[in-house]
């Protein structure tokens, strides 16, 4: 006999199973977002801090009367040869060390630009330099990583770059209260460097900014005007269809193909300078144009015909009806689309690799014609570097990048909420 209730039980069970599958799938996706963010944040936040070690610098050994520094120009101070003096100042931390090798190891606790840092301190405080000053020098990457706990101390000595004796020095310095953990401002202002502890994202932030501004200047007007033409003026004929198919196809072309376009045409035919935000901006504008055009057209389409007809009825020309009435009403949608396009452009890496924006650039760029990196490219560059210090820098750069993206998207959402009209 057919047992209906048993069958029902089975069916309900399979219903529950199906739901569990669904919930597993969606939680998998949600959990992954969480893990990704946690992973990046937990490994990245420490890059915003750096370890510094205080040394006592006896500036009277450079010039007996330290008040004379005030009369010197910055250039003159920069030209002073303080190399041996700086070394001596560091040795004075541990006067007992005689062995040359050990002295060398002691120096290596500090980042290689110690001479420059001692000079910069002098320049900054030249008005009232005391005989003996306490100067905080940036610690080397290895020490920095030990301080941050990213470096396993229990590894056998031959397998780590930092030697036992250096750890010993460091512990003594820490016990003497000479180690200070400070906010890493140079990380946000400096350019790239071969030394992880000195590398900063300032250059790539400016590079990204210049690129995005170029994209905005190029793609916003062109995108909106093209959308206005296609939506409001174009007669529906073969040619218009062809343009539309083109735009839809371009939206689906992989980004790297735009990089090939940039390399093959913009660099090699037009001869624009490699590695520059200008070229990056042009390539990314071509890539974001379809997004902007499609979004703008959608919001133009949403403006009801009564607006156009009303304007025409009181004697406006078609151009006046569109430019004075329809376009302003469609502007919020167009802006939202543009911002989303900009966010895409900001996170894009692959095309920039091909047009040479992967160059190692130490200087912060000052115009769109200077060679520069951008934030996502910086992530790529540092991710490929072997030093441990770059891992946290990479994560921190990602944090900044995600932060900018969130800001942009937030702006888009706010504009949509504030100005969107439901017809």
């Amino acid at each position: 006999m057919f047992d209906a209730s048993a069958n029902l039980k089975k069916r309900l069970k399979s219903e529950r199973r199906f739901q569990i599958f669904c919930i597993t799938a969606i939680s998998f996706a949600l959990i992954f977002v969480l893990i990704l963010f946690l992973n990046i944040f937990s490994s990245g936040y420490s890059a915003f801090y750096k370890t510094t070690i205080a040394i006592d610098v006896d500036y009277s050994q450079v010039i007996e009367d330290t008040t004379q520094f005030a009369a010197m120009s910055d250039d003159e101070i920069n030209k002073l040869d303080l190399f041996r003096f700086s070394k001596k100042s560091i040795y004075s931390l541990f006067p007992d060390i005689e062995d040359r090798k050990e002295k060398k190891l002691l120096i290596r606790i500090f980042s290689i630009e110690y001479e420059d840092e001692i000079k910069q301190f002098l320049i900054k405080n030249k008005e009232n330099i005391k005989k003996i000053e306490t100067v905080y020098l940036t610690a080397s990457d290895d020490v920095d990583q030990v301080r941050k706990g990213n470096y396993p101390r229990d590894l056998p000595e031959e397998r780590r770059r930092i030697k036992d004796i250096q750890l010993e020095y460091y512990d003594i310095l820490e016990n003497n209260g000479r180690v200070k953990y400070v906010f890493n401002i140079p990380f946000l202002t400096r350019g790239d460097s071969r030394e992880p502890e000195l590398a900063g994202v300032g250059g790539s932030i400016v590079g990204s900014f210049l690129t995005i501004i170029t994209v905005l200047i190029l793609s916003f007007p062109i995108g909106i005007l093209a959308a206005v033409y296609l939506q409001e003026f174009a007669k529906s004929n073969r040619f218009t269809d062809f343009i539309e198919i083109n735009i839809n196809n371009l939206a689906a072309v992989p980004s790297i193909v735009f990089g090939l376009l940039g390399l093959g045409i913009i660099l090699n035919v037009f001869g624009l300078p490699r590695s520059t935000p200008l070229v990056g901006g042009i390539v990314l504008s071509l890539m974001t144009l379809p997004t902007i055009i499609i979004a703008t057209r959608a919001s133009l389409r949403a403006v009801p015909p009564s607006i156009r007809e009303g304007a025409l009825a009181v004697g406006a020309t078609k151009m006046q009806a569109v430019m004075h009435h329809v376009v302003p009403l469609a502007m919020p949608g167009a802006l939202t689309g543009t911002i989303i396009g900009l966010a895409q452009a900001l996170g894009e890496t692959a095309p920039l690799l091909l047009i040479g924006m992967v160059a190692f650039v130490v200087d912060v760029p000052s115009s769109p014609l200077d060679a520069s990196a951008s934030l996502p490219v910086q992530v790529y560059l540092w991710a490929e570097s072997a030093e441990r210090g770059y891992v946290e820098k990479t994560s921190a750069t990602i944090m900044l990048l995600l932060g900018f993206l969130i800001l942009l998207n937030l702006a888009a959402v706010l504009i949509r909420r504030k100005f969107e009209t439901k017809w």
Binding site: R11, A29, L36, A226, I243, P254, I293, G347
Partner: protein, 464 residues
């Protein structure tokens, strides 16, 4: 200097606008006759005359400036050595430009170069001055002409509006120009490539090792190397393998997510879960690449080794898995739309027959939505094939033919980046090969998108 000139031209334009408007106002009060257009159209009339032609002239001069400078500065060198290579020319030019800026990268500077530096400074200054004179006089003269032409019967509105229409039309042509540019740049290099390497070798060859190809000092290539270095099958296989792994993750998760959000979730849950999943689509791919290389790849390696496999540190599995996560939102949001657009009557009919919710979904909704869902899968596949950063950072660079997901695999996009990153020697078959790969990628993704859109279109026609 260019920026300053543009600002000057714009100032002239703004000035012209004011003058034109003033003249129109005067005309209106002086004559009793009607003036055809509103006052400000006369302003725009002069502004357009002032700005547009002069900027076009400026662009044209800047475009040819480099060429003129090169020919003039290098003329002595070319007299000495008529068949100077293009690369040597660029090197010389760079040396001259740097020396003129006071940057001395070279120890000795030959007298010929010093002469050329003087010539360079001279011609640059000459062209700069000439540009100023020409552009500004074009702007000034034309605004004057426009000013004279303003009469009460001049229909300036018509002129301005047709100018705007042409401007709009030109903007919409950018899309076509981009496509033409892409096809031109890809095709041009690809044809050059296929003139040296037969197309069959490229499409069916089993060995990919372009780094073996060197241009010899004499300028010709070792043909034995060429024959066996550009077989793209390992790349196609690697691309396919990684895309397949990605789809294995993205299809079930994406589809189930879409089903849950469309059919089970309360509106509240839907409102916050959907944006969170969309976040996955907004994260830059380089971030996924970093995550795949640094976090997922070691986990995959440890898991694989515990299970007794030999896993390379850059495995196709890690890259494919993370790529799959990236694609989830593409699958889920498209499928979500498709499932939502299935008419409510179909659901209700099924419930009326006593079916449970999951039975309705499996036996009614999914079959009804199938074309659209398949369309979304195809779009996702084309995403996976074109994705670059994840595979560059996590999938390995060496090309070998393998179907083992624990092995390193390389893809079309990876090889394009590997070949073209940094400095390239142009006109070598190696760089041209990258363009050939790009063309292959372009065609394949275009086809996939075309088919996907056709499938979706056909489906939507059925219920509308």
């Amino acid at each position: 200097m260019g920026l300053f000139l543009i600002l000057l031209v714009l100032t002239i334009g703004a000035f012209g606008f004011l003058i034109g408007r003033l003249k129109a106002i005067k005309l209106r009060s002086a004559s009793q006759k009607k003036i055809t257009s509103l006052n400000h159209y006369y302003g725009y009339y002069i502004a357009i005359f002032a700005i547009v032609p002069s900027l076009l002239v400026f662009l044209a001069i800047t475009a040819f400036q480099g060429y003129i400078v090169e020919v003039y500065v290098l003329s002595d060198f070319i007299d000495l050595n008529p068949n100077l290579l293009a690369s040597d020319k660029n090197l010389l030019l760079a040396q001259i430009v740097n020396t003129s800026k006071g940057i001395e990268l070279f120890d000795e500077i030959s007298p010929l170069v010093t002469d050329a530096v003087d010539k360079y400074i001279y011609i640059e200054e000459l062209i700069d001055t000439l540009t100023y004179v020409i552009v500004l006089s074009v702007a000034g003269l034309l605004s004057l002409v426009a000013y004279v032409k303003i009469k009460s019967n001049l229909d300036s509105r018509k002129f301005v509006e047709s100018f705007l229409l042409i401007l709009f039309f030109t903007c919409s042509l950018v899309a076509i120009m981009t496509t033409v540019g892409i096809i031109f740049s890809l095709l041009f290099q690809t044809l050059k490539f296929f003139s040296q390497v037969p197309i069959t070798d490229f499409l069916f060859g089993l060995n990919w090792s372009p780094q073996r190809v060197f241009v010899r000092d004499s300028g010709d290539l070792d043909t034995r190397d060429l024959q066996n270095a550009f077989g793209a099958i390992p790349l196609f296989a690697g691309t396919f393998l990684i895309a397949f792994i990605a789809m294995c993750v993205a299809i079930p998760v994406g589809l189930m997510t879409a089903i849950y959000l469309a059919e089970y979730a309360s509106p509240n849950l839907r409102d916050w879960a959907k944006p969170i999943i969309e976040i996955l689509a907004g994260i830059p791919t380089v971030v996924y690449g970093f995550f795949a290389a640094l976090t997922v790849a070691p986990i995959v390696r440890d898991l694989g080794q515990n299970a007794g496999f030999t896993v390379s540190s850059e495995s196709a599995l890690a890259a494919g898995f993370v790529m799959g996560i990236m694609i989830i939102p593409f699958v889920s949001s498209l499928s979500d739309d498709v499932i939502n657009s299935v008419p409510q009557s179909l659901r209700e009919g099924s419930y009326a027959m006593g079916a449970t919710k999951s039975e309705t979904i499996r036996k009614v909704l999914l079959p009804a939505a199938l074309p659209g869902i398949i369309g979304s899968f195809l779009l996702a596949v084309s995403r996976a094939i074109g994705e670059t950063m994840i595979v560059v950072m996590a999938a390995g660079l060496a090309a070998k033919l393998t179907a083992n997901p624990f092995d390193a695999a390389t893809t079309i996009t990876t090889q394009i980046v590997v070949i073209l990153i940094g400095d390239q020697e142009f006109d070598s078959p190696k760089t041209q090969a990258a363009f050939a790969l790009g063309l292959t990628l372009f065609i394949v993704t275009l086809l996939l998108n075309f088919i996907a859109l056709q499938v979706v279109k056909k489906y939507t026609e059925r219920y509308d």
